[in-house]
Symmetry: C2
Subunit: 328 residues, 2 copies
DNA sequence: CTGTTAGCGCATTCAA
DNA sequence: TTGAATGCGCTAACAG
């Protein structure tokens, strides 16, 4: 019996002969190890928990499926739960996953405070934070360089000759939203442009929020020939609002999104946007776990990912644009 | 010790007094039951496996998250895996989930044959098939009335006065695709219209396939004023192809999709489509498991769901259309 | 109603 | 290199 355990886990030397005998017996008996019993005896559940705000949305779906595939290829189980960006639910979900003795936790949490993470989680189990940098826990975070993404979006428009560039932001209380805006400001500064408060609207990362924000911008009467939206969903809403005003995209207004979500290819015209390499990030998270928890990988871990611009049809050079920027 | 087990599981009578004592002790010791040990002893893992082709795509994401929420509210864990519509991978994934002693399996499989399901699965563990009807296992299937959906799509156009209606189908080897087409034919017949082979193209349910199919239709030179696409992705592609030909939507061609995927709202104009109530179906799947496996629910189980039309901007009455249907 | 006992199926000592 | 014994933390049958 102990020998069978040894050949299954390769934990100790077994002579080639008995090893063969065991394997063939396993085959004829159609034996399958009971992974629950393995877990109990070894104190390892071979399962990792993944907590996301929701499954919908390209970002989380990609992260989930890439991580799951990588883990499954290594024989690990993926248990998932959703936290709905709600502080209580996120805490509950964490407790839920811990109660299943997950060996590690990959979590994308919006509502949990840095303090909770640092104080409550630190000794509970190995964990990894996605898309967020918790000060002091940088080595447990995998994130996007949002500031750079914001910079790239605006820089692209500036290089196309645009000068008056509006910006529709996500909730500035969220670090990713404020970092993206920071990048926008840095790009403006780099090109000697003043930042104009009246070309900025804070919104909520949702489609309807984007259309409301764009309506507000248009009503302000401040002219602009291009707009950066801090995510693709808001860009979709903004496009609706621009058209509702009788303006054309990109002739009257160039628009750049952020995330490179699938929907960005379905918009008309297809959306120029900043790629968020979430699939690679999900895979990297899985590798971090395989390496640090299961000692089962030598993969180099990258903690900060770099966004890149994806040019499509929604942004054109200022010269190509009509000379009637909104509000002019 | 046994008493503690009893208060945790409520499996047997415990006096209110000792019950309180146990609970308070649990609190002061910060005791958490080890769910792995519970599983081993009770031969119940309290986890249900969900197998989907992929996480991407609105259909699977909704199904997954709705089912997970319902199960988590009942204290069950959700382990998921992807099968990628590949027969071998789907079989592997099933073995993988079984090896974790899932108490039940909810599976959305494309590639597995009916025979495999009937012969290999039947005694392994309780399971539920999504979006497919396996003859003889109707009580283990939750599906959409695709035929009715196809009927509704075409009927809507017929009632708008369209008579020459093209149809872009999914792979007819798949039952859902052929059922949708059946519905289309039945609607035509109901309105006294002949079915015209030259207005039918079989494609692959993908965006690019849709645009190729539409190009082919346009080249055939057979006139039509409206088209039904068997899913929204193909509709997106078809819209591209229609525009590439210099035609307008919906003025020259009305278009109706199928699924009511999120992308349908991002298209321009927003896509009139047939709703696929996948979220409810996911929830229903979870309830089926709670009821039939955990005896933890009295929910009425519905096995066949009914699609309904969602009117948006991409289909208008024939009178409102221009009088130059493609190919005329 | 409560405590005692014997496994659940394995990994991991320790001897041999 | 292999086998025998012990225990992982719990549930379920049994006896009291």
């Amino acid at each position: 019996m102990a020998t069978v355990s040894r050949v299954i886990n390769g934990s100790s030397r077994v002579s080639e002969k008995t090893r063969e005998k065991v394997l063939s017996a396993m085959r004829t008996l159609n034996y399958r190890p009971n992974s629950i019993a393995q877990s109990l005896a070894s104190n390892r559940s071979n399962s990792v928990g993944i907590l996301v705000p929701q499954v919908h949305g390209p970002v989380f779906a990609s992260m989930l499926s890439e991580a799951e595939e990588e883990l499954r290829n290594a024989g690990k189980f993926t248990i998932f739960a959703t936290g709905l960006s709600d502080e209580i639910k996120e805490q509950e979900a964490i407790r839920f996953l811990i109660s299943r003795n997950c060996d590690a936790l990959i979590m994308h949490v919006d509502a949990l405070t840095d303090e909770f993470i640092k104080e409550q989680m630190d000794d509970a189990l190995p964990f990894l934070i996605m898309n967020r940098v918790v000060p002091g826990l940088e080595d447990k975070c995998i994130s996007l360089d949002n500031e750079r993404g914001g910079f790239e979006a605006t820089r692209t428009l500036l290089e196309m000759g645009h000068r008056r560039i509006a910006y529709i932001s996500g909730p500035l209380a969220w670090v990713d939203a404020s970092a993206r805006l920071e990048g926008h400001r840095r790009a403006l500064a780099a090109y000697g442009q003043d930042f104009d408060d009246r070309l900025l609207v804070e919104s909520n990362f949702k489609e309807f929020g984007g259309s409301e924000a764009m309506s507000k911008l248009l009503r302000r009467g401040r002219s602009f020939s291009a707009v950066v939206c801090a995510n693709d969903e808001m860009a979709a809403g903004a496009m609706d609002a621009i058209r509702a005003r009788g303006l054309s995209i990109p002739e009257d207004v160039s628009i750049v999104g952020f995330d490179n979500a699938p929907l960005s290819r379905y918009l008309y015209p297809k959306l120029t946007t900043v790629n968020y390499p979430i699939a690679e990030m999900g895979r990297m998270a899985a590798r971090w776990v395989l390496r640090n928890v299961y000692k089962d990988s030598e993969a180099e871990i990258r903690h900060v990912f770099r966004p890149t611009l994806v040019p499509r049809g929604s942004a054109i050079t200022a010269e190509g644009s009509r000379d009637d920027a909104p509000g002019k």
